[in-house]
Amino acid sequence: MSTFTQPTSTEKKPVSAEVVGQFSWGITLIFALASTCWVLLPYTGYMFAALVFLLAIVLAGVSWNRGPVLTMAVMSALVWNFIFIPPQFTLHIDKPQDVIMFALFFIVAMSMGHLITRLRKREESLAQHHREREQLLAAKHRAELLAESERLHRTLLDSISHELKTPIAIIRTALDGLDEGNPFAAEIDTANRRLQRIVENFLEMTRVESDALKPNLEWCEIGDVLHAATTPLQRDIAQHPLVITGADPLPLFMLDSRLLAQALRNVLHNAILYTPAATPVEIHVALENNLLQIRVRDHGHGFPLESVDQLFDKFYRAPDSPAGGTGLGLAISRGLMRAMKGDIEAQNHPEGGAEFTLHLPVQFRQA
């Protein structure tokens, strides 16, 4: 109904207002020049008009489109013939040399118009090319800078990681050399492990916040993920019976098992840290449509409702937290899950205890 209101599509290239303007200006110019030459005709002769017309065509070709310029060429040839070449006011030409002149004028005017507009087109495309090249170069430069800063960041992270972990490793090895029954050694060991966890959390948080974290997808079994998540916690988890359900008949998943295991490990570590000894921690794994869900439920006191929004914030620590945490574990878990296009949520279970749900869109395949 309202096709008029549609914006003109650029593909069809309809005659634009600019080109229409050039046509009218062109025709006006020809008539203006024709009148001027008509006035000057007694002093200059009729060849003068032809040269003036040619000059006008050349100048028009420098800035106008090909259509108007060629139209001007045809028009001026006809006008010249009609008005200036004797016998005047007919298209008839008497002298054979005038016929040749007319033909030459026609050819020269047409080819000048054509050549000059083509030259201009080429110049424009060259300029366009040049602009694109500049843009590309600028984009390339930006990408190089970005890669360089990423590399620098990674190198820095690696060297800090090395510097911080080496003394921790030395303390650990040295402690192993001491008598096992030494209670002081046991205290140093506990503190050293705590230090190690803090350093690892800080480094991991930095990594999660930079874009250095790229999931490395591969087919894996959920049992392996659970194993990788719980093995490093063995010392702490011994006090809490771990109940795993739903993992057995699940298919293979396409995911980064290391990142998922780490996200899960932090949640588990949290559950162990914040619940009374001997209370069980339950892990339930389920696949719903394309969504892998891992629920971790503990049997502690849950968390205060008003803190639900802050749980995953950096450095947030619940009011009654035991000492020894960094307040980074859950923030890292969320960062990891989001890096994998998933997320993590928390709620208090209706029957008591906190429940964390890690979910992740996955590709899966029956094993």
Binding site: S161, A174, D176, C220, D224, A228, S257, R258
Partner: protein, 224 residues
Amino acid sequence: MSKALIIDDEQQMRRLLRMVLESRGYEIYEAADGPLGLQEAAFHRPDVILLDLGLPSMSGIEVLKRLREWSDVPVLILSVRDQENVKVEALECGADDYVTKPFGTAELLARLTVIQRRRFTRQNPEIIVGKLRLDLLHHEASLNAEQVKLTPTEFALIKVLAEHAGRIVTQNQIVRLVWPGQQTDQSEGLRVHINHLRKKIGASGPQIINEPGIGYRLESEGEG
């Protein structure tokens, strides 16, 4: 007496490792960087090398590559965590296993013992890992003297893992050994066969442990 070469730029780490290993009867040589390490390796012909990945001037990977040009001495990689891709690269360049710093002495010694075991030779047509016995002559596997029915692929797979019992084998290494000459991605197939093998071996046999992002390790005796 076994000779061990420690290549690590941290003097304190070297000193500690020396104390730990000397108390277990090792004769110790030390090197603080890659080029020195290679010289020491050529000069003293150690029975095992402990190689730190984060060395100055020449990277641990480069040291390993040059070493492997002329030596097949067992190499244990010492690395900090979060270097999974580097660990895989090191393993595929010929390292035998790795421990992650900070490591416990017990873990370190266990890994050293495993990689120093004489590599499997073909003179004996059977491999025994815990309660699992592989008869390479008849392509038969048995668990607690009871035969386990394995498909040819599963047998090839458990054979690769058993030959490296206690040691990590990367996914690529397994795929190359089990499906030689195949170009297509077999990682999915590998998972499926591992899954079947685990079910057939059950909880009583040696466990196949997955190390995320790296590969598999068949638990040998004394572990786990």
